[in-house]
């Protein structure tokens, strides 16, 4: 035979799923929220999204020039930039997005070894960084027609909130968290394409709900509970950030434990904490516990442990 054959160790076939394809799906799933954000907050949202995504990709590109290893094509920087933008208040100045995105990509991701090596969700770490550094900007949700507090802050102050408004998105909040409809569409895209499963979001939301029923002081009041569920970054966090592959446990049992932990922590922050919101901190804390959770939930190898 004249043509040379390729020889390699088995297996010889590969599935069509690629890292790139997964990232692309996530970007697609985030678009409904970004779209609604832009519809609701107009150019302010658009500028923030462009600044955030642009900075993320540019940072990774420049770092790639320095290390002589280009990684922007895996699209993970786009995902991080977009997620961060969705977590910013619409009234924030453009440089907040740039600074946060730089921090997320350079400090949290690249300095720790790049994709797959970061121990915290970069977008969330950056949000927390901004929240601590510029608390006034990051908690000011006053925007044109929407004066006053976010639904969660109102809820905490003991005021009535309109749940229907929260579902449609006629409230104030960060760019991506206001409309439940947009979030659910995005979540469905991820679930149906198999990018994520319900283990973490399910255990997160259920344990949070139970916590609020027990300690929220309103018992089973459906209006209060649905406002808690739909309010703030809970849905966004549960479906798009707690499920981040890199920073969640890889073991199946571990994922349930992680979800339950997040639910309880979010409950504690929201009900007993000083701020109305707690999802970001809960997930960041959960990220830090991942190595420990993986250690205690190491699966038992098939057939291990003797007869039958």
């Amino acid at each position: 035979m004249s043509e040379l054959l390729k020889v390699s160790s088995n297996p010889h076939i590969r599935s069509k799923v690629t890292t790139n394809g997964i990232m692309m799906t996530v970007v697609l799933a985030l678009l409904p929220m970004a779209g609604f954000g832009i519809y609701q907050f107009r150019t302010d949202a658009l500028v923030l999204i462009l600044c955030s995504v642009g900075t993320a990709v540019l940072t990774e590109f420049l770092f790639g020039l320095y290390t002589k290893k280009q990684t922007i094509s895996d699209l993970s920087a786009v995902v991080t930039g977009l997620l961060l933008a969705l977590n910013l208040p619409p009234g924030a100045p453009w440089w907040v997005a740039v600074l946060g995105s730089l921090f997320a990509i350079l400090v949290v991701k690249l300095l720790f070894g790049g994709l797959g090596q970061n121990f915290m969700n970069p977008a969330l770490a950056a949000r927390c960084f901004l929240l601590i550094s510029f608390p006034a900007i990051m908690t000011d949700f006053t925007y044109d027609a929407f004066t006053g507090a976010t639904p969660l802050a109102a809820l905490k102050a003991g005021e009535e909130v309109n749940v229907l408004d929260m579902v449609i998105g006629r409230t104030t909040g960060t760019i991506g968290e206001t409309s439940m409809i947009a979030i659910v569409i995005g979540a469905c895209i991820l679930l149906l394409t198999g990018v994520i499963d319900l283990r973490i979001p399910g255990s997160y939301l259920i344990s949070f709900l139970l916590f609020v029923i027990l300690f929220g002081g309103h018992g089973m009041n459906p209006a209060y509970l649905s406002a808690q569920l739909a309010g703030g970054g809970l849905m966004l966090g549960a479906f798009f950030m707690a499920t981040d592959y890199v920073t969640r446990p890889i073991t199946v049992k571990g994922q349930y434990i992680y979800g339950i932990f997040l639910g309880i922590m979010t409950g504690i922050f929201r009900i007993f904490g000083s701020a109305a919101e707690g999802v970001s901190y809960a997930i960041i804390l959960g990220n830090l516990l991942v190595p420990l959770i993986e250690k205690i939930t190491k699966p038992k190898a098939f057939g291990k442990g003797g007869r039958r």
């Binding site: 160790s9 088995n10 010889h12 076939i13 799923v17 890292t19 592959y245 073991t251 039958r308």
Partner: protein, 382 residues
Amino acid sequence: MGQKIAEGGGFVSAPVYASVSGTVKVVEPRRVVTGDSIMSIVVENDGLYEDIGFYPIAPTDKLTKDEIIDCIKEAGIVGMGGAGFPTHVKLSPKEPESIEYCIANCAECEPYLTSDYRRMLEEPEKLIGGLKIILRLFDNAHGILAVEDNKPECLKLLKSLAKDEPRISVKALRTKYPQGAERQLIYATTGRKINSTMLPADVGCIVNNVDTIVAVYRAVSEGRPLMERIVTVTGDAVAKPRNFRVKVGTSYKTLVDEAGGFSVTPQKIICGGPMMGFGMFDLDVPVTKTSTALLAFRYDDVSAMESSPCINCGRCVEVCPGRIIPSKLSDYAERFQDEAFLANDGMECCECGCCSFICPAKRPLTQNIKSMRKIQLAKKKK
């Protein structure tokens, strides 16, 4: 044809028979599929296919257990699913009375292969006959024909043939890979689990491949030694993909010619299945008792893809039949962290290839783990 030309030396070995009639030309090292050179007997085929005459030593129901085992041993039968373990050794466990299930592995070992399927459709009565012979060795055993549910006509055929056999039943299994792997098959049929350090006999099971069981039937009731097998020739570069009844020792090149040659120049040729087979660099090697298939692909998936960093997606964990964490074990293997590798059950890997297949980052997980396992096994031997 049918003359014994090599005797099994050790306990775990089997004799070899001439698969054609002719003259022995030379005994010399010849290259085999894996690329190694192995002492081979070269028989010049006179093209007459005259056999020496095959006679069973006695009617099957008159044979004692020892005579049956002897018959199987003499016929040179080995596990024909791919592992090639001598069947008479497998059928001689320490406590034959503790065997509760004799499982006929009718789940095709790998995707693309259809040789077991053909065998079941064409010679189902021999399969059942062979299983009955094996059951005679184990007084307390029940026979199970384990067939994947994507072969409804096989299930129907075998069920109708086995309905008057009190000791044999047919079981439909979910179609998935690696359903035909011994550990998974035992679990799927009986719910019993074994690990890498146990034998099926430890949980009262004996598993044999379809082709092996048919070979047992032919050896015991017809007196024919093992000289041929069914080989699947397929892949998108093969002009006319089909199954062949092949004499052991036939060159793979002949098989390709018989299948109409290549329709396009293949980039990759595999001996065996796509998940666990060997990549071949030369077609001029012989079919052996354990050759299941020849696959020729127009494009090679593997060399076309570059591996990127692990994103911890967990897909490898979800597909691993050994219930270990391939991504981590692969890391330990890459860094030669022996202790971590062993402590995290690296040796429980069955090298099925599922993790490498599914990995979106296209990391060589199976390959890394496999290499490390070899290192560890070599260390153990020292």
